[in-house]
Amino acid sequence: MGESILKINHLSKTFGSNLVLKDIDFTVDAGDVISIIGASGSGKSTLLRCINLLETPTSGEILYHGKNVLSRGTNAPAYRAHVGMVFQSFNLFNNMSVLENCIVGQMRVLKRDREQARAHAMEYLEKVGMAPYINARPRQISGGQKQRVAIARAMAMDPEVLLFDEPTSALDPEMVGEVLTAMKALAESGMTMLVVTHEMAFARDVSHRVVYMNGGVICEQGSPEQIFSNPTKPETAEFLARFRKN
């Protein structure tokens, strides 16, 4: 793998007296596709939101190319522009068309001119198959389509790493496929991705590394083959067995 983009050291997060993340250590290298799996409430989403500074960690450090983004004086918006995020609930801007959604960040944050931003947005909208819908408003398209637009919007910012927070959990079963297809294509193009997911097939077939979280700690991590066919921790085996039953 290439050089490390993100290095997370001793990260902890508490909500009130509730310890959600305990002493997380974790590295993301360029080109990595990492799946984070685990039961609901195990802190997967919180970890992702901490990485994007949507939540402020209680302690620990997040090194982005060796610089701690949790130190005072970090320009959080500038950092977030390099770390894209795709949400469970899409969070497309409701007051804009599909195309505007993919352009506004490029124009306002990256200061690209409109033509350039449009061409760049179209490139990704085409990749996710949403080019015919550029004039639609978010409320007029389906959940799977919204999520594909959200992926295009994040990619149009040319992020170094893209975080996915349960991108298919809010979708009807028949729409999961189209989103996973788009994500698989992204992974194959060499994008660095960090995916919180309940789609075990995606974790196994697409990702390079699988992280199993349980109770706010990283219980086990390793290659998909190792985690799925030969887990070393009993908790991991139990979690996967529960999944197979469903």
Binding site: L54, R108, E115, Y133, A201
Partner: protein, 314 residues
């Protein structure tokens, strides 16, 4: 019937003599209400944005202090101007400034004084409305904007406020209609509004009731027209309920749906392989569009392979 005939005659008498005064009063009232509402909205939006700048313990103490202070000041402003009658605010400002400064600071025109009073009064109400409008926008919108690197001001300007504006449009309309009527208290500082035309007319003619009838009809007409226009603006803001698919022909459904102005046809510069894959993709999308079952089938296939793989793992 007799009385109504007399009322009609009196109104005609009033109108022939003071018609132009009434009309210029209506004009002044509308201008004052409109300008006051617009400036008030700007004040309200500014307060709403300043009020919602987030700060955490990790921020610099000076920044936290300033933001905290700003919130306190806005709170005081809102409470004071919302909690006192506009007629007294007008008197207070118009006569208070020269009183305290020995005539060195004063409003040189009643227009300026009236606009200032109506604006800051409306602003106090709008600050709360805007706060409500901002809260009413899904927090996911803020997160989405932050995640692509927007600052607080950019998030507000391009994402939150346009949606908040739509949500509080009825409130803005309310404020405008209230302003049309409540600017009548500006006669206290000698502002020539519609109501002051009434005072001038009855002072000379003693036709109190006929003039009040003119006023009633005049104010009601103004507010009815205003609320009609506001509904129209709301519908405009909502935009069209439908959208157009951008497609030129079936084969180029994905590739030909847009143009690179400097590149010509999207097929020109691509390898035969990518053209083929594009055609495949276009065909796939066409089938998808024609029948939703296709997607269902895909999902089913996926589920089947999933199940097979799961079975294989066991």
């Amino acid at each position: 019937m007799n009385k109504f005939a007399q009322l009609g005659a009196d109104i005609v008498k009033l109108w022939t003599k003071y018609g132009s005064a009434y009309l210029s009063g209506i004009e002044n009232t509308l201008i004052l209400a409109l300008v006051g509402t617009v400036i008030g909205c700007v004040i309200g939006f500014a307060c709403g944005v300043l009020n919602t700048i987030p700060y955490t313990k990790a921020d610099h103490p000076v920044k936290r202090f300033v933001l905290g202070l700003v919130r306190v000041i806005i709170r005081i402003y809102v409470e004071v101007f919302r909690g006192t009658p506009m007629v007294l605010q007008a008197v207070f400002l118009y006569y208070g400034l020269p009183y305290f400064s020995n005539n060195s600071v004063k409003f040189t025109s009643v227009w300026a004084a009236a606009i200032v009073v109506v604006s800051i009064n409306t602003g106090a109400y709008m600050a709360e409305s805007v706060r409500g409008g901002i809260i009413s926008v899904d927090p996911g919108q803020t997160e989405g904007a932050k995640a692509i690197g927007m600052t607080h001001v950019q998030t507000m300007l391009y994402v939150i406020l346009p949606q908040a504006l739509r949500n509080i449009m009825p409130q803005i309309g309310n404020n405008f209609i209230i302003n049309v009527k409540d600017t009548s208290v500006m006669f206290i500082i000698g502002f020539p509004d519609f109501f002051s035309a009434h005072r001038a007319a009855v002072g000379a003619s003693y036709l109190y009731f006929p003039s009040a009838t003119v006023e009633m009809v005049g104010y009601l007409t103004m507010t009815l027209v205003a609320s009609f226009l506001l509904r129209w603006i709301e519908r405009k803001l909502d935009g069209s309920a439908s959208y157009e698919l951008v497609q030129v022909d079936q084969l180029t459904m994905t590739a030909g749906t847009y143009s690179y102005p400097d590149k010509g046809s999207p097929f020109d510069e691509r390898s035969p392989e990518s053209v083929k894959s594009m055609q495949r993709e276009a065909l796939r999308r066409q089938i998808e569009r024609e029948a939703a079952e296709r997607e269902g089938q895909l999902a089913e296939q996926r589920r089947e392979t999933h199940a097979a793989q799961k079975g294989g793992k066991r």
